[in-house]
């Protein structure tokens, strides 16, 4: 035996100290929590939404390094990604299956583990790309970490592939799945005008999907398909559509028909709606109750700390006619701030500052308390709203989703509405947030950054706080002599039955002050290549529309004014006057919206979009950027570029 061999043999004799029992207990507790979380997510896949069950999340999700957040002391953490195979791909390969709305499927966990390590004022370091046969490098972000031991800090962006584990879950475009929950839906199919001439849907002014998508892409992964709701991407942007003149007629829809950039034979029908914008929304008294999730999982930089900063923005805009209350749930459930005048800013800000995440105890009756306070301070002439801020924990006191929705609906009828602000990643329960906000006559926004908080709570505060029209529904009837087939882009989760349109009892989306809403149909004109062969033996559809043959479609919109129980109808015919033959002749607003629509469909791998690539989308958006005061459109273009490189990998 050589000398070296002897020396090496000594390696064996290293005595391992016993691990401390505290460390073991802590690790075991975290492991159990992770196990429960994983188990829950997995079983939910088949059993549907069981959002109320999740009471704790100690394992913090991936966090993005956002440029604007650099001033947050860069704490580091170990981010070890363990990608685990699940045949999730199947889910992304089902574009042919009929839409199954309302079914919630939970994305399998992208195994992300990051554990909080000691807090060190280190510099966030970038992962050097190391080509290692065992490691796939995917950009995983740093995070602020809860402290565990005092002197260790580390961060890593390496996803490791374990033995015996198949390749990580990616579909054709390279999507990686995250642990967030989204309602599953398939793209709307092409409808033959002969079979189904009428299309009905509820409008949607939510923008949460865009913020989520942006975050995913900035974190270096393409979002899972179900996270991409094309209409929310389109509606994220503020379009400079013509503003209606008065609160009595809050909408003036404008319709344009033009060639689809991705298919020369098809046309797009673009419906532009802008809500009436009252002079000064903040001049109206607001009675706001912040219902804040302070569970342990809110600890991350992009959750509670961001939430505080976001709410401060809102508080800054308030004055003595406004009232603010704060209720927390989980951990220290209860009233943090009784209704307080907006003039006492110091008191409100202090109360916000003192919020700390902690515990995972179900906060009993959090939501009842919030509504009770809202009711106490109720202002009959102003805005009364509960703003729920959470990362997905809904242990607000009512644990049945249906009961919770009913409760919110009932309160809405009494004049107190609900908005939901979503924070963080990994635990985000999009489907439920949407459902709650819809029942509460409010909107769901996803706040991923301070900029986004500013957009929602300052720039668009009117739309966030003041509803100008409720239950806004759109119905379009296409003329089969002109249009042989059509397809609504986006709004898959908002489809209504034909008869729902005239039924004022059927709930639909609400529009806030100054909100813009865009809907785009893709039309196959008669004479173009048909998506479906005509029936050989079927009855030929007898078209009695000859007299109106120059009409392409007939557009109807129903809305209720605030407080009104009956809806008002706006209708108009879409004729050749609406047609623009060259997309370059359209306004920037329409062109830009079209590029966003293309992007959403691209991310959803929609077949209709064909070979229209990220480059074309980017070029279209670039050409129609317009003034872009806040830089949102420039950001979109960057996002398209980033998605392009991610899709290549």
């Amino acid at each position: 035996m050589s000398d070296m061999e002897k020396k090496l043999k000594r390696l064996k004799s290293l005595e391992t100290p016993a691990p401390s029992s505290d460390a073991k207990k802590r690790a075991a507790a975290l492991a159990m929590a992770a196990f429960d979380e994983t188990a829950e997510k997995t079983t939910n896949g088949s059993q549907g939404l069981s959002w109320g069950q999740r009471l704790m999340s100690i394992v913090t999700p991936l966090k993005g390094i956002r440029l604007m957040d650099i001033r947050i002391p860069a704490t580091a953490a170990i981010t070890a990604l363990l990608i685990v195979p699940i045949s999730w791909q199947l889910m992304n390969n089902t574009s042919l299956t009929p839409p199954t709305l309302g079914e919630t499927i939970v994305a399998p966990t992208e195994q992300k583990d990051e554990l909080g390590k000691g807090v060190v004022d280190g510099v966030i370091s970038q992962q050097e790309t190391e080509n290692d046969l065992a490691a796939i490098v995917i950009p995983a972000p740093e995070m602020e970490a809860p402290m565990v031991s005092p002197n260790v800090s580390a961060s890593s962006k390496v996803a490791t592939r374990t033995m015996g584990a198949p390749a990580p879950m990616r579909d054709q475009l390279g999507y990686l799945q995250s642990g967030d929950q989204f309602e599953r839906f398939d793209d709307a199919n092409i409808k033959l005008t002969g079979d189904q001439p009428v299309s009905t849907f509820s409008i949607d002014v939510d923008t949460a999907s865009y913020a989520y998508v942006r975050r995913a892409i900035e974190n270096g992964r393409l979002p899972q398909k179900d996270a991409v709701r094309t209409e929310e991407l389109i509606n994220y942007f503020d379009y400079n559509y013509a503003t209606p003149p008065s609160a009595e007629l809050p909408f003036a829809p404008k319709i344009s028909v033009y060639p689809a950039p991705w298919n020369a034979e098809h046309q797009l029908m673009h419906v532009a709606i802008k809500g009436y914008m009252p002079e000064n929304v903040m001049a109206q008294p607001s009675n706001l109750v912040f219902l804040i999730d302070t569970s342990g999982s809110m600890n991350d930089t992009d959750k509670l700390p961001l939430l505080k900063r976001a709410f401060k923005l809102l508080v800054e805009q308030m004055d003595e006619q406004d009232t603010v209350s704060i209720v927390t749930y989980a951990g220290a459930a209860g009233v943090v701030l009784e209704p307080t005048s907006g003039a006492e800013k110091r008191k409100i800000l202090d109360a916000l500052d003192n919020l700390t995440p902690g515990g995972s105890t179900a906060g009993a009756a959090g939501i009842e308390t919030a509504y009770r306070l809202a009711n106490e301070a109720k202002n009959n002439d102003g805005v009364n709203r509960v703003i729920l801020a959470t990362d997905g924990d809904f242990n607000v006191g009512i644990s049945e989703p249906e009961a919770l929705k009913d409760f919110i609906k009932q309160k809405r009828d009494k004049g107190i509405s609900l908005s939901v602000l979503g924070f963080g990643e990994g635990n985000y329960n999009d489907a439920l947030m949407q459902a709650l906000a819809q029942n509460g006559d409010g909107n769901a926004s996803y706040i991923d950054s301070y900029t986004e908080a500013r957009k929602v709570l300052v720039n668009e505060i009117g739309g966030t706080l003041q509803t100008i029209a409720r239950d806004v529904k759109i119905q379009v009837e296409f003329n089969p002599t002109q249009i042989s087939a059509y397809r609504l882009i986006g709004y898959e989760t908002r489809a209504l039955n034909r008869e729902d349109f005239n039924n004022d009892k059927v709930d639909a989306g609400d529009v806030g002050a100054g909100h813009t809403v865009t809907a785009i149909y893709e039309l196959t004109p008669v004479g173009a290549a048909q998506p479906v062969d005509p029936l050989r033996f079927g009855e030929t559809t007898q078209v009695d529309a000859a007299s109106k043959s120059d009409e392409l479609a007939f557009f109807k919109l129903r809305y209720k004014l605030p407080g009104a129980d009956e809806s008002t109808l706006i209708e108009m015919a879409v004729t050749n006057d609406n047609v623009v033959n060259n997309i370059a002749d359209l306004s920037n607003e329409i062109q830009f919206g079209t590029s966003v629509a293309a992007f959403g469909q691209k991310l959803r791998s929609n077949a209709e979009i064909g070979t229209f690539g990220f480059d074309e989308i980017s070029a279209l958006a670039q050409a129609s950027r317009g003034e872009d005061k806040f830089g949102y459109r420039a950001e979109f273009i960057n996002l398209v570029e980033a998605a392009k490189s991610l899709a290549k990998n």
Binding site: R26, A27, T38, I78, L82, D113, Q127, V158, T160, T162
Partner: protein, 192 residues
């Protein structure tokens, strides 16, 4: 020597079990099926095993505890995907090794290269001092080796594993392991 790893692991795995407990493979199967208690038992049984691996690689108790914590959480998330195609122990070893690597890369990036230089931490049990010195020298030299060489040496010598077992865990061929060991010895010549 091929069976040695398994024997050694078996021993370790059974350490915390009483006779009435189901064997670890059963527990793993149950845990993979979502059985919470079984998973808790797996964690309890495997904690020390993982800690030992982490400690050998890192030479620091608190680092090792942190990594072990990461590993059990990863285990929670991935045990459902454990398909029994490989030995649970090798599978877990691989997870632990990857976690160690992540930890080290992260530490390196932070300029905290101290781990590689640190001797066995003072928290380890004192034994024959002279022995310790030499052993510590060997350890610290080995920890400075390039990653693959180090892994191979630590598994083959530190864990007394066969080249075949080591190859399974590293995901390479047996001959590659031998080559890493050979290279390692060459590199160590200057250091020891």
């Amino acid at each position: 020597m091929g069976a040695q790893l398994d024997v050694c692991l078996e021993l370790n795995l059974t350490l915390n079990q009483t006779e009435n407990d189901p064997p670890i493979s059963e527990l793993v199967k149950l845990a993979a099926g979502g059985d919470r208690d079984a998973f808790a038992a797996v964690v309890d049984a495997q904690y020390d095993y993982i800690f030992r691996i982490a400690f050998k690689w890192l030479g620091d108790k608190s680092d090792a505890e942190d990594v072990t914590q990461n590993v059990v959480i990863k285990l929670a998330k991935s045990i459902q995907q454990f398909d029994g195609r490989s030995q649970f122990s090798s599978w877990l070893y691989r997870i632990a090794l990857n976690a160690v690597r992540d930890h080290q890369r992260a530490s390196n990036r932070q300029g905290r290269n101290v781990v590689a230089l640190s001797l066995v931490s003072p928290t380890s049990a004192p034994s024959n001092q002279e022995d310790d010195v030499t052993m510590n020298e060997v350890w610290s030299a080995v920890r400075q080796l390039p990653e693959k060489q180090r892994d191979a040496v630590l598994m083959v010598y530190g864990e007394d594993m066969s080249h075949a077992d080591c190859a399974t865990i590293m995901g390479c061929k047996e001959s590659t392991v031998s080559w890493y060991v050979h290279e390692a010895k060459k590199s160590l010549k200057g250091l020891l």
